[in-house]
Amino acid sequence: MDTGIDYYGQARRILDAMWSKDGTGGIRNVINTEHKMITFVPEGRGYNWTDPSYHVPAFFEIWAEYAKDGHEDFYRECADVSRQFLHKACHPVTGLTPDYAEFSGDPLGGE
C-alpha cells in the first residue's frame, strides 16, 4: 500500500533512538533491559517500575517480526514477559490492575 509515508523508516528512527539511550543525562532505554519490561519513564527512578496500562505484548511481536534492528530475540522475550506480568498484575477476581506496579506485578510500594 503506497501511503506516501515511510512507516518503517519512521519507526526505525524511534527504535534506534530508544537503543541509543545509555544513561547520559539520566535517560536510559524506555524498556528496562534487565526485566525486559516497559518502564514507567526512562528517566531516573522511573526506570525501576512499570505501568500495567503500558503493557502491549503485540507491539513487541511486531518489532520482533519487522524491525530488523538486531533485537528480534529480545523483543520476543519482552512479549512473553509482558503476558506473564499481566497474569500477576490483574486481580484474580475483578481483573483490575493497579496504576503503577513493581516488575513483579505487585502494586507499587504495596499500594
Partner: protein, 1075 residues
Amino acid sequence: MNIAMDYSWYAKDKEWQQGYCRRLQDFLFSRGIDTFEDQFNVDGTARERIMGAGGYRKLRHSLGWVSTTAAASIMGTQAKSWKFVDAVWNAKLEPYEDGYFDPYYDGFLYLFSLMHLSGNYRIIKPVATENPLEPIKLLRPAAQEDYSYCVLESGVQLRIGDTVKNILFYGPATVRVNENLGCSYWEHPSIVVVGKPAAVPFKVLETPDTITIVSDKLQIKADKKTGALTFMDGTGKVLTQERAQNHAEIKKVEISGAPTYEVSNTFTLKPDEGWYGFGYVDAAPTKINRRGQQLLLIQTNMGIVIPMIISSERYGIMWDTYSIMRFKDDATGATLWAESAPGGVDYYVFAGDTMDDVIAGYRDLTGNAPMYPKQALGLIMSKERYQTQERIIEVARTFRKEQFPLDYIVQDWQYWGSDKDGTWSGMIWNPQRYPDPEGMTKVIHDLHMKLMISIWPSVGNDTPLAHELDQYGLRFEPLHWISRKARIYDAFSEKGREIYFKHIKEGLLDKGVDALWMDGTEVEVGTACWNANEVARDIKKLGINAMGDFSRYLNPYTLMTTKGTYEGQRAVNNQRVFTLTRSAWCGAQRYAAASWSGDSSASWDTFKAQMAGGLDVTMSGNAWWTQDIGGFFVNNFPGGEQNEAYRELFTRWYQFGAFNPIFRIHGTNIEREPYIFKEIDPEMYQALLDITHLRYRLMPYLYSQSWKVTSEGYTLMRGLPLDFPDDVKARNISDAFMFGPAFLVHPVTHAMYRMGTPPAPTLPAAFLQTPDGKPGLAVQYFAGVNFDTPKGRGIDKVVDHDWPGPPLADPPGGLDVLNNFSARWEGFLVAPEDGEYEIGVEGDDGFRLYLDGKKVVEDWSQAAARYRSTKVTLRKGQKVLLKMEFYQGGGERVMRLGWRTPSDIRDLQNGKKSMNNVMETYLPAGADWYDFWTNEKYEGGRTAEKECPLNILPLYVRAGSIVPMGPVLQYATEKPDAPYEIRIYPGADATFTLYEDDNETYNYEKGEYATYDLVWNDSARTLTVGPRKGAFPEMVTERTLNIVLTVPGKNAGIETGVADAKTVNYIGEPIVVKF
C-alpha cells in the same frame, strides 16, 4: 484493550486472556452496565483517595473506561460482552454534565476502541516489492556461511556479511541496486522515482562462486564473496561491472542528528567506453565525455548537476542520492562518493538496444516529459531587464514591426519593486511601473506572443506571500544576500508549495502570464552561487526542511519547487506548462522544467563550454535545455553591442542557439534585441535573420520531434555518441551534435573576421616607480567610497587586485571590511620604447586614471568589471606622472592597471591578417552526409571542410533523412494550413512521423492528436505518405505537400525547394510519389 489487541493478532495466551475478559466484565457488570465507576481498589472495593483529572476529583462512568472495557469484548465468550459493545456504540463524545471534557484520554480510547471493534484493525505489513527501502526478511538464512540470498517478487536480496543488497527490477531493462548495512534511514520515499518494482520474469542460476539473475533483457551476476555485480544484456554481453574488490564503501554516520550513510561505489569501465552526463558541471573540462574527469556535484549558478550518466556501451546509471557528491574516474575505476545517502548505495541501471532506449528507460522510471506549447519552440526574447510595461510592449511591437519572428517575451526581476526592499518575488507588480498587468498581457497576446516572468524562491518580507508562509513557519531564517529582506520558502513542504503557487496564480497567472521562469533554484541564498562549496555551505545553513536535513536534500530544491508550480498549473487549467529553471535534477522533465545554464560571461571559451555542458544535460535525460545567447554578462567587449568583435561572437552564439532545444536570447549590460543590428551591422543582421528563418521553417520537423520526446523518451539535442556510439572518434567530439535525426550542427566557436583584442597585459613593476623611486606604485586605502577616512599605506609592485570576499581574503591596508572603501595609487610610468601606447584600467566598481595630472579615463560607477583605456604617445625613457583612483561599493571587487606597448599593438594587427575561415567537421562513420547549404555529398568517417562567412555555419544532413519544413513564420503557430515542403535526402531508407495537435492544451493526453508516416524507399525511389491516424477538433484536414528530392546544387539551404517538386494534396489517405 491492549490485551484484546494481543489476543486478536497473536492469540498466544488465549485461555488466560478470555478468562481475564470474563472476570473483568463480570465485575463491572455487577456495578451496573450504565453506571460502573472508573476507579476502584484492585480488589473491587471503593477508593478512599480519588485521583483528580482536569480540576475535578470525582468518580465517573468515564467514556475512556467504557471504551476500553468494550474493546475487551473481542476476547469475550459470553453474551454479556455484547452489552459492553452496545454501550460504546451508544456513547457520545461530549462533555459530562458538570462541563468536564477530556477529548485526549476519553477521545483517543474511544477512537481506538471503535477501530479495534470494527474488525479492521490489522497489521499493514511492509511489503518488500512496494517499499524496497525496507530490508527484506531473509527467507533462506545460511547458518554457517557469510553469504545468503532470497528470491523476491521483483528481484533478489543478497546478504554478504553485514551488508544487504537488493537487486530489484523496475522494468524489463531497468534494475535497482540498493546496498546498505541492513537498514535504510530515509524517512520519505524517493522524490525522483515514480516507477515501481515490477514483476519481470527472471530465474536465478547458482554456481559455487556466483549467482546470476537472468531475465529477457538483463543478466546480473553477483560474486558470492564480495557481492560485486556484473551487468550483462540479454545475450550475456557485459555492459558494465562493479569493481571486483571494494566495489562499495558504506559507513554509518550521523548528520544533523539523524542517522545516514556516507557511501561510495565504483565501477570498472572498458578502456574506450564513453560516459556522458552528470548535467552541466561548470568547473569541469569542456568535454562531453566524463572519462578521466573529477567532478564536484553541487548545483551552482551555471551548473545544472544531474546524477545520471549514459554509456556508449548502451546502458545508463542513475544514482538516487541528493547530497553533495563527487565523481572521479581514474585507473582505479569510476567512483561516485556521497556525503549523505540515507538508503546506502542506491542506483538504477538502464539497458537498451540503442542509446535512446537507455534514456527512455530513465524517463519511464522518473516520468515522461509533457509537451510544451508549440510556441516554446520559437524564439524567446529575454533581457535583464525591461523596467516598465510600456517598454516591454514597445519591444514586442518592434519585433512585429520589423518582422523579426518572436514567440515569447520575458519579464525579468524587480517588476515587483526593487532589489533592496521587502517586495522580492511576492508575486506582485510595482504599481508605478506596471499599472495594468492585465492590459499589458493582453497587448502581448494580441501580438501572438506569450509572456514569461521571473520568480524566485526567496520571498520578500513585506509581501502577503511571506506573511502567509510565515504563519506556518515555512520560510528559512537566512536572508537572501541581495535584498537582505527576503527569505527562502520551504519547497519541501506540500503546504509551502501550495501557498507559493496560490500567490503565483492570483498575482501572475490570473493576470495573463503564460510561463514561469524560476531563477535561483539551486537554491540561491548567501551568494550568487558561483562557488560550489559556498552554495553547499549556505544551503546547509537553511537547516531542516519539511522532509529532513539539507545535507541529505542538498541538490534537488529545484525539483521540489518546479513540482509545486507544475502540479499547481495542471490543477487549475488545461494549458501546457512551460517552465525555465536555473537548476535541474533527475525527474525534472516530468514537471515541464527546462533548465538554462545561468549567468554566463561573454567569451568564445564560455560559448564553447555551453555546448559541452548543454549536451551533458540532455544526455542526462533532461531533454529541454537552453542558455543565454550572447552571454549574460558582457564585460570584456568594450562598447558591448557597438563592438564588432562582440557582434561576431553574438552571431555565432545565436547560430548555436537556433539549434538548442529552446532558442532564447538573454543577458544584461548591453542591448541585444536582434532588430537593433539592422542599422548597426547589416551583415550580422542578415545572418541572425537567416538562421531564425531556418528555425521557423523547421517547425513541422521540430514539433514532431518534441512529440517523440514526450511519447518515446527521445532527445532533440544529441551528442554524437547518441547516434554513433560505436564510432570511437565521435565519442569525444564536444563541439558538434545532432539536432534530431537529420542535422549535424557544428557551430563556429572562434573568431574568424573580427578578432577581438585580448585583455591588455598588466603593467609590469619594471616600468612603474613610486614617488620615492621604488618599483611599483604607492597606494593609500580609505574607508568610505569617497576617500573619507585614510587607512593604511603600502606599495603595489603591480596593480592587479581581484579580492575575493571574506573569509577568503583579509581586507587590505588596515580596512575593517572589504566593501565601501576607496584607494589611490600614485607614482610614475617610464616608457620603454617610442610610439603610441594604450593605457587602461579594469575595475569593479568605480575608477579614474590621470596621466601628468590630466584625467584620461573615468568610470566612477558601481558596475561589474570592465576595461577602459586611453591612447598616449611616449618617447623611450619618458617619465609620466600616474595617479589612479578606485572605489568598491558592494559585490565583486577588481582593480588592475593594464597597457599595450607599441610593439604589442603591432603584433595584434599582424595577427588579425592570418585568420582562417574554414571549419573542419568530422562526419561520423556509418552514414553519408549532405552539406545543407549546397547538397554536396560526403562519405562518413571523414572530415569535411567548409568556408564559413558570417551567415553560414557547418550544417550537414544525414543521407536517408526526411525533413518536413513549413514557410517562414512570425510566430510558431502562424499559418497552420500552409503547405509543407517535404525534403528528402536520399542515400538510405528513411521514415518520419509527422505529428499535429492543438499546440496549446493537454488534450493530446486524451488522444486528441494526429500522426502520419512519411516513408522513403531508397531503392524504389518512392515516398509513401501513410494514412492519417487520429484526429482533433482544430485539425487541418487538407494540406498541400511539396515533395522535393535534394540533389547537389538544388533544393538546398533555407530557400524553398522548387526544383522538380512533386505537389500532392493530402487529405489523410495514403499517397505514393515516385522519383
